[in-house]
Amino acid sequence: MFKSTQALFGGRPRGASPPPQKARQRKRLRSVDRVVDTVSAALERNGQTSKAVNRWFAEMPREEEMLPKDKYTLFDKKEKSYRKSIHKLPKWTRVSQRVNPPGF
């Protein structure tokens, strides 16, 4: 039986993350969004605000607003294409890397 898989169509592009790794990355991004939402909702219910939370909402895109390019790659001036795979960022599963430098 023929099953169309990525491997049969020449494999993934060089440097691209495998789909399960990308799925886990999206899951982590959403979990951070959930934490910030919970904190913000709790503060609002108590009539309080937090500078850190407000700044996050002002500066950071949510998981669903992000482009695939920003979810799975990051800016690097030394790369020919100016992008490298996000897994090259040290401790990448435990840090937030969502925005590009101005102009990129």
């Binding site: 919970t38 904190v39 108590n46 309080q48 605000t49 937090s50």
Partner: protein, 91 residues
């Protein structure tokens, strides 16, 4: 007054010293540990420092360590019957 129920899911090993110190300040010493803190801007700021490592819920009551542990206790699958005289004594 509500509480943050904060559970440490990912360890801060290898992260900047600051992350470890924030976890220490929150009272989170090892993974899967749960602590309760009153909702306040200062605790919110601390959570924001370690938001990639923790899971946060808002709840109305603070639980003790034993109560958190008992939440995970499975149903024993049996109950002990008592004689009428025992029940009367309890009353």
């Amino acid at each position: 007054m509500s509480y943050f129920r904060i559970t440490l899911l990912r360890s801060a090993i290898g992260l900047p010293r600051r992350s470890t110190d924030v976890l220490k300040a929150l009272g989170l010493k090892k993974r899967m540990a749960t602590v309760f803190h009153r909702v306040s801007p200062s605790v919110a700021g601390q959570i924001m420092k370690v938001k990639e490592l923790v899971q946060v819920e808002e709840c109305q009551y603070s639980l003790t360590k034993q109560e958190v542990h008992l939440e995970r206790k499975p149903d024993p699958g049996y109950y002990t019957e008592k004689s009428i005289s025992d029940q009367r004594n309890e009353l």
